[in-house]
């Protein structure tokens, strides 16, 4: 039996002030459990080392505190190192730019005390560092929508739900899944990749709003575009490793007309595209200053699409290679639900990793079909109910009425039989 209840693993990437705030937050946790904290400094050259060493010298702040320095290997390798060194049965991975709420660890541990083979996905609400920054508002809205969707009742789990910034799981589940894939050294998506393997190994995701850590990073347009480029490169790696996920990745299609135009420019005329989109990114302050939010959002969306496809070009080289990658995708899926039975349990089991056709049945009769898209921003159960009620209400009600009539006829026949027998 371990002497610690939990090991907090922090992979730090040259952000000394944030690291200091995070460690202060961790030292003020309300839990009685013995906590081990491991900080992995991933090729840092700044004051992060001094910050970590200063905390190492503080007696009594944590039951155990360990600092490990490695040459720059990426966050995935750093987290794996932390997990390897950990002595607690539960691993809590935290990004170094978050500030935890006082009960973060106790909320995570409460879930692990009552269930096995779960990964607790905590909240990572971005704090608005610059009031009225549309970029920060956009990031905040995206996160709130994402977390609301993943924590909604009846929502199926997806590999996309797993983000490594505030997540806990049992050490044995982590090692059974094989830890983070270090091929994703400098790219994003290492969390998604591990999420896919964890789900395949039988781990269940539990989204918990109460396990809250707030992200304190200034969001900029430049940073968001860089992240998109890295996401594209991460997606290519994901696609190469898991053909079953390809259909759900944004590299399958660019979207609307404007997005397709941006994608075409990124793939075929990148030098011209870079000039145009650099100018557009530079001028993005104009709609922001004029408070033209929808115009800003539309322009920002196109910029993000361009950045994604630019990253894709860097990763695979040409559109031909993207097509080749697409061809390795598994055939499209068809799933089904029966509207005569409780929907929540059926919806929870649906696969939302890739687009699919959802057949809606009422007992044995087909009522209609819905196209399921993994990019759907709403929780799945109410969305499916709304789709059925808006598009198939008449057919479904006819089926229900027919079912009632058939049942009544059967009951009447059985009554007649009883009377005849009597």
């Amino acid at each position: 039996v371990s002497e610690f209840s939990c090991t907090v693993v922090i992979a730090s990437d040259s952000r000394p002030d944030q690291l200091n705030r995070l460690l202060s937050g961790l030292s003020l946790q309300t839990t009685d459990a013995r906590i081990e904290v491991i900080v992995i400094l991933d090729g840092v050259t700044d004051a992060s080392r001094n910050v970590a060493l200063a905390w190492e010298e503080k007696v009594g702040a944590f039951a155990s505190f360990l600092v490990y320095e490695q040459s720059r290997n990426g966050l995935a390798a750093a987290r794996n190192r932390g997990a390897f060194l950990a002595r607690g049965p539960v691993l809590l991975f935290l990004d170094d730019d978050v500030i935890p709420e006082a009960d973060l660890i106790s909320v995570h541990l409460r879930h692990h005390a009552t269930a096995d083979h779960i990964a607790v996905l905590g909240d990572l609400e971005p704090v608005q560092m610059r009031p009225h920054s549309l970029c920060e508002l956009s990031l905040w809205s995206w996160w709130e929508d994402t977390f609301h969707r993943r924590s909604a009742p009846g929502q199926p789990s997806s590999f996309r739900d797993f983000t490594a910034g505030n997540v806990s799981l049992r050490a044995e589940d982590f090692s059974r899944a094989g830890g983070f894939d270090t091929d994703f050294a400098t790219y994003r998506r290492e969390g998604h990749e591990l999420g896919h393997r964890l789900l395949n190994s039988g781990v269940r995701f539990v989204a918990e709003r109460g396990a809250r850590a707030r992200r304190h990073t200034v969001a900029t347009v430049r940073g968001a575009l860089r992240a998109k480029r890295n996401e594209a490169q991460g997606d290519v790696l994901l696609a190469r490793k898991y053909p079953e996920l390809i259909r759900g990745l944004p590299l399958m299609a660019a979207g609307d007309k404007r997005a397709r135009r941006a994608a075409g420019l990124a793939m075929f005329l990148p030098w011209i595209g870079d000039l145009i989109f650099l100018a557009r990114a530079t001028l993005l302050w104009i709609p922001e200053r004029l408070r033209r939010r929808r115009s800003w959002q539309a322009k920002f969306d196109v910029l993000q699409t361009y950045a994604y496809w630019r990253g894709l070009r860097r990763a695979v080289g040409s559109m031909k290679a993207v097509h080749a990658l697409r061809e390795t995708a598994l055939p499209p899926m068809t799933q089904q639900i029966d509207a005569s039975r409780p929907l929540a349990a059926q919806v929870e089991r649906l696969n939302i990793d890739v687009p699919s056709r959802l057949l809606v049945l009422y007992k044995d009769d087909a009522v209609g079909s819905i196209e399921l898209n993994p990019g759907n921003p709403e929780p799945l159960l109410p969305w499916i109910v709304r789709e059925i009620s808006e598009r198939m209400a008449s057919t479904l009600l006819l089926d229900v009425a027919r079912g009632v009539l058939v049942q009544q006829a059967a009951e009447a026949a059985s009554d007649v039989q009883l009377i005849e027998t009597a």
Binding site: F147, R291, R293, R294, Q297, L343, A344, I388, A393, L397
Partner: protein
């Protein structure tokens, strides 16, 4: 003049008798707790038969489509897991209107359960009549001595113990489904506020019918979600109104949603609700309008009241547009203000001048014009008064500290 009735389509529809004083009825159709729509049906010999109601419901495409949808939704969502509703406080702000308040509290007490509370804010009362009335009910009571509806609203939020603060005017009457329907929408953290459907409590006088026709609070029978991707925040008038709205307490206090320089008790007259909704939308939160959160409003009975109401609403709405433009650099306020002016003021003026059926009296239209033109001035005066009050209050505080 119309009789107002409610019919639940989930149950047995019965004949409605004793309507001899009315020529027609406005029937609100429901399916259990869900509100489906409204149909106007002529009354013959004081009787509205069940078959007439059924025929009217079947004859309205909108009603029958929504009914089908609602029936299917209820069927499919049976036994579905739901998140626990948040705690709540209903805040009723009032000023010397005890008779109206009595009806409002009667309806609220009847629909309240132990998961929430009712809080009455008595705004600059001229007597203790409200306090004596409130003592008869199981509700909390507080006095805001400074005049101003928005001040009372802010005090209500400060004193509320619930996570969600639901605002009701003292001239509204709550339906049993009102509070649960509002709370249901707060399951999403990004929803900062919810508004509901407000229908007239009575349509007994021409003034009430004119008000409902031209300035009714109803926003239709379809649930709508508003955010900055779908509307400009300055279009807050499309979202809802102050007699039927709820916000997260934390958001009200953090953002100071209700500005003291707006709404009743100030020169700006109204607009506190519009500005609060604007702030919620501008901060990237969502506003949800749900027709299932139904309450009733007692429209003013006299034409003279109607003239004042139109003046107040125009002055308040344009004060908010002006404030958004000047203080928040919202260019969209000009566009919305112009659209509103064309759609309401100019159109109503044209209808009045050409004597179209159900047109407004010319005095009422002119009052709306007057309110619009006076709005920048009124807002300026109101803002200055509030600032000087704050400065004076600040100096008093300094003296006390010294």
């Amino acid at each position: 003049v119309k009789a107002l009735l409610q019919v639940d389509l989930a149950g047995r529809i019965v004949d409605q008798a004793g309507l001899g004083d009315y020529l027609s009825a406005r029937v609100v159709l429901r399916y259990g707790d869900r509100v489906i729509g409204v149909v106007d049906i002529p009354i013959e010999d004081g009787l509205l038969s069940a078959s007439d109601i059924r025929l009217a419901a079947d004859g309205s495409v909108e009603v029958s489509e929504r009914l089908r949808r609602v029936v299917v939704e209820e069927l499919l969502m049976q036994n579905s897991p739901t998140s626990a509703p948040p705690s709540w406080t209903v805040v009723v702000c009032t000023r010397d209107r005890t008779e109206l308040l009595r009806t409002c509290l009667d309806s609220l007490v009847a629909v309240t359960d132990p998961s929430g509370e009712i809080l009455v804010i008595d705004n600059a009362p001229s007597s203790d009549a409200t306090e004596r009335l409130v003592a008869e009910y199981p509700v909390r009571y507080a006095v805001e001595p400074r005049r101003g509806l928005n001040r009372a609203r802010m005090l209500g939020a400060h004193l509320a113990t619930g996570e969600i603060v639901i605002y009701a005017d003292d001239d509204t009457i709550a339906e049993p489904c009102w509070i649960p329907a509002l709370l249901k929408e707060f399951s999403e953290a990004r929803v900062g506020g919810v508004t509901g459907l407000t229908l007239p409590y009575e349509l007994e006088t021409p003034a009430q019918e004119l008000f409902e026709r031209h300035y009714g609070f109803g926003k239709g029978f379809h649930r709508r979600v508003f955010d900055i991707r779908s509307v400009a925040p300055t279009s807050s008038g499309a979202v809802g109104s102050g007699g039927n709205m709820a916000f997260r307490k934390e958001l009200i206090l953090r953002k100071g949603l209700f500005e003291a320089e707006l709404d009743m008790g100030t020169r700006a007259r109204t607009g506190g609700d519009l500005y609060a909704i604007y702030r919620v939308l501008a901060d990237s939160y969502r506003m949800v309008y749900t027709p299932d959160a139904l309450n009733w409003h007692r429209h003013r009975r006299e034409l003279e009241d109607l003239r004042r109401t139109f003046y107040d609403y125009s002055a308040g709405a344009y004060s908010v547009f002006w404030k958004c433009l000047v203080e928040h650099r919202e260019l969209a306020a000009v566009r919305i203000g112009w659209w509103w002016f064309r759609k309401h003021h100019l159109r109503e003026l044209a209808r009045t001048l050409t004597r179209r059926p159900n047109h407004l009296p010319v005095g009422v239209v002119l009052a709306a014009f007057k309110g619009t033109l006076a709005a920048p001035f009124l807002h300026l005066v109101s803002r200055r008064a509030e600032r000087s009050r704050r400065a004076a209050h600040g100096s008093v505080l300094k003296e006390k500290t010294a």
